[in-house]
Symmetry: C2
Subunit: 212 residues, 2 copies
Amino acid sequence: MKNTDDNNQSSYKLKLTLKGQATRARIIEAAADLMAEQGIGRTSMEDVQRQAKVGASQLYHYFDDKKELVRAVIAHQAEAIFEAQQPYLGKLDSFEALQAWRNLIIEIQSGRQFKNGCSIDSLVGEIAESEEEVRSELVSCFAQWEGEISRGLHDMHARGVLRSDADPDGLALALLTALQGGLLLSRLRREVAPLATGLDAALGYIRSFAAN
Amino acid sequence: MKNTDDNNQSSYKLKLTLKGQATRARIIEAAADLMAEQGIGRTSMEDVQRQAKVGASQLYHYFDDKKELVRAVIAHQAEAIFEAQQPYLGKLDSFEALQAWRNLIIEIQSGRQFKNGCSIDSLVGEIAESEEEVRSELVSCFAQWEGEISRGLHDMHARGVLRSDADPDGLALALLTALQGGLLLSRLRREVAPLATGLDAALGYIRSFAAN
């Protein structure tokens, strides 16, 4: 099992040649596509080999087993999500910024017609209870996401934009919850309403703590 | 493929002997347990046979294929969810009733330590895009759920408990969205906070439309 905490992962990555990095990235992307399309359970290592056009020895050179590949896919999806939400994420420190971020998310998801999309959340349902490592990878991705939202709300709180009785951490968690539920239902229904309505309600609730 | 719209399904059910009904129920329950535990993708018809202690000919007598079994599992889970939410669901027509329903949900999910639980939502992530029939089964389960919530809010609106500018349908969808996102994150983190915080924010938002 390769070491997978952040530092070791990047030092491991550094050791790879550029060609090796490209191959590893191609494998992850192929796996991410397949898992988003047909589910983790139905995606075999052989499927990934075929899709990424690599041999078994190459595939197992980079990933000891499917579990390790799933973790890499989750990290990759999380990175893609954070990248897509730039430049807003981390600067959600005004009602205008929150609204602009909400609009960006709706735009991204509508552009994808609610298919696949930011799939770390859509992977949650598939994580069997025994897969503790995969679960903790997902937990930490969501914690990072929540932290980015929370930071801006704390800032608004400190600046007095939000009333002193507002709980920035609670509001951040509520917003993330609405976002995840909205993504889930929008993806299921293939329409924007759940995502838009859920986010608007959470933002409306946050706005109800505006200082004046 | 057996006919599966509501009327035909119940007439089909009527044709089964009591013993046949028991066998069918046992198969569904075994499949539901397995799919909740290890995911749909990883659950084979052979697994279900073994768990339900039935032969292949019996299994395929009741369900032509795995897809049909999955649909039956979804319908079964939806029924269990609605039953568990009685006596509140369908009578969510006051702030007190909404709060009591919220408490019941938290209690049910905490009792399950956020494992498995009401699993129709946890199945969403696994529905591959090609499985249109399974998707539409899930869509209709959620629509029914949303309808039950919406009914009470419409009642509160009509009675003037909610202000005239409140949108009962939008509020119901926002509440369902918060509930689903909360279930997803609470299940992932194995703690009550996301579910409780998400529901409380949605209820707080609904309360912000209180008439006085």
